[in-house]
Every structure is written in C-alpha cells, then in structure tokens.
C-alpha cells in the first residue's frame, strides 16, 4: 500500500472512491443528471450520503453542461438520512404505534 509521491487521483466521492475521470466519463456517456450519475457510479450513496461529493458534483456537472449550479436538479433524499447500524432495526422490539 506504499503510495507514490506525485501520482494521485482526484477523488470526488471519498466514500465510494469515485474519481473525477469516472464522473467525466459517465457524463460523456450521457449520464447528465445527478440521479443517473448516482445510479451509475454510486457517487453520493456511501455512508456520508453525499455531504462532501454532491456539492462538488453539481459544480462539475454544471460546468460540463454549460449551466448554472442552481439549475441542476437535486437528487431525492430518502431515509435513513444518516447511516445507522442495521442491528438496531433487526434486534429492537417494535413498540407498535402507527406504522412507519
């Protein structure tokens, strides 16, 4: 794992190791919105849930498409918005009440 001195990739998504080249390639292949880029590259779908990469991705995509960042449609946010151990759902006894 001894790294090289000066040859490093540019990482956009730290959680899933997505590089700027990966994103540029996908945009060139026609994945030109955040939803499909997420599905193609898993970018923004790691444990930080896009908190570092989505703002970067929006700027990069806007530049590539000649748009303003504010014109890029944001991806859908679904629960859980933070990663939580699956164990909590598996092992805790449901207390009833309204269905989630």
């Amino acid at each position: 794992m001894g790294g090289e001195m000066r040859k490093h990739p540019t990482i956009i998504c730290r959680c899933n190791d997505v590089t700027i080249e990966d994103v540029e390639r996908a945009i060139n292949e026609g994945y030109t919105d955040l939803e499909s880029l997420r599905k193609r590259l898993r970018i923004g779908m790691g444990p930080c849930q896009g908190r570092t990469c989505i703002p970067l991705l929006i700027r990069l995509l806007a530049r590539k498409l000649g748009k303003k960042p504010t014109e890029i449609t944001l991806p859908v946010t679904r629960p859980p918005v933070v990663p939580i151990p699956l164990e909590l759902f598996l092992k805790s006894k449901d207390v009833g009440g309204e269905r989630k």
Binding site: M1, G2, G3, E4, M5, R6, K7, H8, P9, T10, I11, I12, R14, C15, N16, D17, T19, I20, G46, P47, C48, Q49, R51, T52, C53, P55, L56, L60, P69, T70, L74, V76, T77, R78, P79, P80, V81, V82, P83, I84, P85, E87, L88, F89, K91, S92, K93, D94, V95, G97, E98, K100
Partner: protein, 503 residues
C-alpha cells in the same frame, strides 16, 4: 519533513499563549493490538492523531490512505473498526479505557459475533418539541421552548453538546445579552450547562434523527436504541458541512477541512500540522491560520483564487503582520506525498481562473487546510419534502421559511447554519426565534413572548445583518424568507405529506 512520524509522538499542545486545555484522566486503549494512551474526553480520532496516527483506513476500492478530515461526524474518512464494529465514526466516538481500535482496509466485513449486543427495545418518546442538533441554534431553541413549560427533547450526534462553538476560541463581539466578551467555547459550555440542568429538557447524546415519516413521526437512533417521537413541533438545527475541492491528492491524510483542523487544535489541544498551506482567504481561512500560528505551527502561505482577499481586513492584517503571505490569484494545483501530505504545488491563475503554465511553485508542508466555505445540512428538510431553493449566498439548497422560521412543512422550523451559512451569533438568535415561534404556536400568543421575538427579529435583520460585512448572507436569507400568506400559497401548490402539531 519526514513522511511518516513515529507512533507515540505527541502532537498535543502543552503550552499556548492564550488557552489552557482541560484534559481528563489518562486512559489506555488498543490501536492495532498495541497499547496506547489517551485522555478522557478525547474522541478516538483525536487521540490517535495526537500520537501520530495519520491513517485511519484504506479506502474501499482504490485502497487509498484516509485520515482526519471533517472531525465532526459529517464525512466518512475516520471510519474504523471499534471493538469489532466496522464503520464507526471515530471522530464522534469517545475514547474509553480498553477500547480496541483497528484500521479498516477496504470494504469492511459485517461482524458475525452478533450474540453479545445490547440493543434495547424501541421507545416512544412523549414530548411537545423535538430539537435536532445541539449546537448554538439548537441549544438556544431548546432553552426558549423549555422556558415556557414545553417538554423538549434535544438530540445531538456528538457525545458533547455545544456544536462548533466548542472550537471557537475567539471572543465574541456584541453586548452581554449576546455573550459579547466571552469566547465561543465558553458560550457553548454555558448553554450546555443550562440545557442539561433544565427539567423540561431531555438530552439524547450520540443520537441522530434518521427520517421523518407519515403521521408526523420522527425516527431517532441512539447508540443501542431506536426511538420514535411524534412531537407537536420540530426545530431542525443540523448545521453545515465543509466544502471540498478537486485536485490530485485531495484525499491524502493531511488535507483537512479548516474546521476539522480547528476541532483538533482548539477543542482537543492537538496540533494538526507543523507546516501549513491554507487554501481560501475567507474569515475561516484567515482565523484558523492565525490560530495555527499561535499554537506553534508555521503557516507557509494562504492562497486565494480571487483577485482580492475574501475575509475581513482586520483578520487579514493580523496574519500579514506575522509575515504570512496571502497569495491572491493563486490556486492549489496538486498535493503530493507518499501516505500523507508532504507538499503542495500552487499555481497562478488568469482572469478566467485558468492556471498559467510555468507559474507552478512547490511548497513543502504537512497540512493543507481547505477553507472554501460550508454547505448547509438540509437533508431532513429535503427528505420531509419541504420546498427548497438553491441560494449561492446561503451556501446551497435551503428550505423556504417565514420570518418566524417555519418551513413549508407545518410545524417544522429551521435555525442556524442549516438555514443558510452565517455564524454562531445569528445561530443563537435564530434558535431563540424559532423556539419562541413554537411557544406562540403551541401555547398561544403571549405578549411577553411576541415582544421578545420581535425584539430579536428587529435586532437580527435591522442591526446585526445591516452591516455591509453581512450583506451577502443577508441577501441570501432575504431571498428565502417569505410572508405567512406566501407560505400558505406555497403549501397550496406543494401540499406537505407530513405536518406537526394541530393545525
């Protein structure tokens, strides 16, 4: 600079011109099977950084070394295996006697020894108000609702209350009413003490709100327990996360958010680096550079891509007095080093921010600070379906809200940096305003409450934000603040799928 330091070196700051760091008792724990020491009250990530551990994990696909980055539980760079549990955020996990910490290498395996876990049954919490986030905005909000007899639950992701106040070592401006003259961490401690001692407030530490569901239920997850709450009002004060940049080597340990470095240095008294290059000359970049200098580091330069310095003159003058060059029209081209930062290459840019070939310059350093702004953390609003707008001046997409800080989800309120990037004073003001709005809604309009709220609103909008220094932030907040009537209209066109409290 040597590229790796000896394990068991000590990066703790033992003498500082203005600060003394309170450290808990010594504890022993295990890193990669080896017994090491820490001080109680430190996070695992801070304790490891203090003894010279730069690499917390190797990434899942490219096996890149990853180290301390945000230090406040927002990113995933500090994930380690803690007592056998992978993907533990070690920056918000307190170090304990005997805890076993290991580096993750690649994608973590699901632990198979599931028999000994202590998961408790889910609990339904009865409360009037749920406050999400224990920083300046959330604490102020909870104190306001509790003051008027509302039962309040406050959840906080970190094991300590206070949020980013805890790393603010500068004295606040303003009147006594606004904590003027106190240092940020002192304000944080004072607010935390008041909240902890308030019989109407239940505090849940290391607990996150993971989603908002039909019928007005909110799901909370603690370390070993789930909760569900159906509050009459929710105040979300989830703060912000630091912006990042794209350049080769941007994930090497030693590339750190300016806020992350501040957490290490000001909250834990650990020097984040010896030789520093700062990227971004806004107030955060300037202030942290100055604080690094005070703590004993050498700041080699501050680079700024724009033709002028972003931060206030008073802060720029201070760092310049100490001989730190502020290089405008410069940017970071790349960072290099074997397993951590050993240096960076900067380059001059033209009017269109394009690098000018031949102007590259290498700077040896072991810390590259990224101080290029913050993005509000608004995911709970997005998930709940609140109507949002992207506002560059606010730092990203933020929900529309009334003057009283209610968003398009009835009974859901916003305060602090989540509502648009400003700073701790406005966060405290917004927190109290949101809290008083909830009081007005749930307990009926009381003259005293309305009067106090109007006074705060007037001060916030007409005095505090009237300064030209706040013009940008003010414009951002103005563009997402709507009247009550406009909000009703917005709700007609975007019917909320969930609401809180009686309407």
């Amino acid at each position: 600079m040597p590229c790796t330091r000896n394990l068991l070196s000590d990066r703790r700051i033992w003498s500082h011109p203005i600060l003394t760091f309170k450290r808990g008792r010594k504890v022993k724990f295990f890193f990669e099977g080896r017994e090491v020491e820490a001080y109680e009250g430190e996070s695992i990530a801070a304790a490891l950084y203090a003894i010279g551990v730069d690499i917390f994990s190797y990434s899942i696909k490219l096996k890149r070394p990853r180290g301390a980055f945000c230090m406040i539980g927002k990113c995933s760079s500090c994930f380690m295996k803690v007592d056998g549990i992978p993907n533990t955020r070690t920056c918000i996990e307190p170090v304990r006697e005997g805890v076993k910490v290991e580096r993750q290498k690649g994608l973590a395996e699901i632990p198979t020894n599931g028999g000994e876990s202590d998961v408790e049954d889910e609990e339904v919490l009865e409360t009037d108000v749920l406050v999400i986030g224990g920083g300046p905005a959330g604490l102020s909000a909870a104190l306001a609702t509790a003051k008027y007899g509302l039962k309040t639950v406050i959840v906080n992701e970190h094991f300590k209350l206070g949020g980013q106040l805890l790393k603010q070592t500068h004295k606040f401006f303003g009147s006594k009413d606004l904590f003027g003259g106190l240092r940020g961490f002192q304000i944080g401690e004072e607010l935390s003490r008041k909240v902890m001692g308030n019989p109407n407030i239940k505090v849940l530490l290391q607990t996150v709100a993971y989603g908002i569901f039909r019928g007005g239920w909110v799901g909370l997850a603690g370390k070993n327990k789930l909760y569900r709450v159906k509050p009459k009002a929710v105040i979300v004060a989830s703060g912000a996360s630091e912006n990042f940049l794209t350049f080769p080597g941007n994930d090497l340990p030693g590339v750190m958010g300016a806020g992350g470095a501040q957490t290490l240095m000001n909250e834990y008294g650990i020097l984040p680096g010896d030789e520093v290059l700062t990227v971004g000359s806004g107030n955060v970049g300037l202030i942290v550079s100055y604080q690094l200098l005070q703590a004993g580091a050498k700041v080699k330069a501050i680079v700024e891509i724009l033709p002028e310095i972003g931060g206030w003159f008073v802060h720029a003058a201070k760092v310049r007095r100490y001989g730190i060059p502020i290089l405008t029209r410069h940017t970071l081209k790349a960072v290099w080093g074997r397993e951590r930062v050993e240096g960076a290459t900067i380059v001059q840019v033209d009017e269109k921010f394009r690098p000018i070939p031949g102007t590259e310059k290498d700077i040896e350093c072991d810390l590259v600070l990224i101080a290029v702004g913050l993005t509000p953390d608004t995911r709970l609003f997005a998930q709940a379906g609140a109507v949002m707008r992207w506002v560059p001046e606010a730092g990203g997409p933020v929900p529309l809200r009334t003057r009283y800080l209610e968003v398009s989800i009835p009974g859901m309120y916003i305060a602090g940096d989540a509502s648009g990037i400003e700073e701790a004073t406005t966060a405290m003001l917004e927190g109290e305003i949101a809290g008083l709005s909830v009081v007005t809604k749930l307990a009926g309009p009381k003259a005293e409450v309305i009067e106090r709220r109007e006074k705060l609103l007037k001060f916030l909008w007409d005095e505090y934000r009237a300064s030209p220094l706040m013009a940008r932030a003010k414009a951002g907040k103005e563009s997402v603040t709507v009247s009550e009537e406009e909000m009703e209209e917005i709700r007609k066109w975007n019917p909320p799928f969930v609401s809180f409290g009686v309407r």
